[in-house]
């Protein structure tokens, strides 16, 4: 097996160029999917027989929550690759994830609160799912704070990378919290064994939104990664060409 692809992925100019070429594809595909998902979720999906139209919060809550976990997992994997193979680009990718993940974790908490206010009669409860998701927000903020506090980029990469890798233990805790403990929060409807617990007219807009948000993350990550690479490769000769366009 050839490892050239791995070495190319470690090369900042290659990644910078690849990111620039891929961003519009991911970005426009994300925009298209999110617009279709919004129309499907707000207009086409039938009202829930128990929750009426309030269940439509699902179409922004679940994608935000999915982002909070997927972005964290991506960040932890990138940080681990950076730590194990001392790959600068991987550290740059991990650093690019944090603010995106933190903002969508916040969105998941706020939309969940708006949903819970009506369905559970409370804005907040120290419930396993809610508490572990709040800890995820603090992990993101801690990661960003740690990076901000260390001036030297390499030391910041190592310290924050370690925090990201250790913190990944929270991801399965969040996912299974509703199964392991008694929670107000419902158990998984889509990511479970067997058939999803939703009719297709409700499920399809959700799947489209999840795909749209995932592609949006890819586009955001690629744009941020390019900025992060430029800031790190201060003296590299290829930068002149890259910023002239």
């Amino acid at each position: 097996m050839s490892w050239t692809w791995f070495h190319r992925l470690a090369s900042p100019p290659y990644i910078y160029g690849l990111a620039a070429r891929l961003t519009p594809w991911f970005g426009w595909a994300a925009a298209l999917l999110i617009l279709c998902g919004l129309y499907g979720g707000l207009v086409l999906a039938p009202p829930d027989y128990q929750q009426g139209n309030d269940f439509r919060i699902l179409y922004v809550h679940a994608p935000s929550a999915w982002m909070s976990l997927m972005v964290y997992t991506t960040m932890a994997v990138a940080a681990a690759v950076g730590l194990i193979w001392r790959m600068k680009v991987a550290h740059a990718a991990a650093a690019s994830c944090a603010a995106i993940g933190a903002s969508f974790t916040f969105a998941a908490l706020v939309t969940g609160s708006l949903w819970g206010a009506r369905m559970w009669g409370t804005w907040w409860e120290w419930d396993p799912r809610l508490t572990s998701e709040l800890i995820l927000l603090f992990l993101y903020l801690g990661y960003m704070g740690l990076r901000g506090a260390i001036e030297d980029t390499q030391r910041a990469d190592r310290a924050s990378g370690l925090l990201a890798v250790v913190g990944v233990v929270n991801v399965p805790i969040i996912h299974y919290s509703v199964v392991w403990w008694n929670s107000l929060h419902q158990t998984p409807s889509v990511m479970r064994l067997g058939k999803p617990a939703m009719p297709p007219a409700m499920l399809l807009p959700l799947l489209i939104m999840l795909a749209g948000f995932t592609l949006l993350f890819a586009a955001l990550l690629l744009v941020r990664l390019r900025g992060e690479i430029l800031n790190r490769e201060r003296t590299a000769s290829w930068i002149r060409e890259a910023v002239q366009a």
């Binding site: 999110i34 919004l38 707000l42 207009v43 009202p47 009426g52 139209n53 309030d54 439509r56 919060i57 922004v60 809550h61 994608p63 935000s64 603010a99 995106i100 903002s103 969508f104 916040f106 969105a107 706020v110 939309t111 708006l114 949903w115 206010a117 009506r118 949006l216 955001l220 744009v223 941020r224 390019r226 900025g227 992060e228 430029l230 800031n231 201060r234 930068i239 002149r240 890259a242 910023v243």
Partner: protein, 57 residues
């Protein structure tokens, strides 16, 4: 249309949830683009500073 906006009486919960999420999507797009623009501008400044000092030497 009015019926749609009222969301069967849940308007006060459904619309703020959509507004918050879409605002965060929009802010993320603006944020990422401005960080890249800043990094490019900083790289350009460094390069022009380098070429000026290079000519002086």
């Amino acid at each position: 249309m009015r019926q749609f906006l009222e969301m069967g009486g849940y308007a006060a919960y459904v619309w703020p949830a959509y507004a918050v999420t879409l605002a965060i999507v929009g802010l993320n797009i603006i944020w990422a683009r401005s960080l890249l623009a800043q990094a490019r501008a900083a790289a350009r400044r460094r390069l022009s500073a380098q070429s000026v000092s290079g000519e002086g030497a």
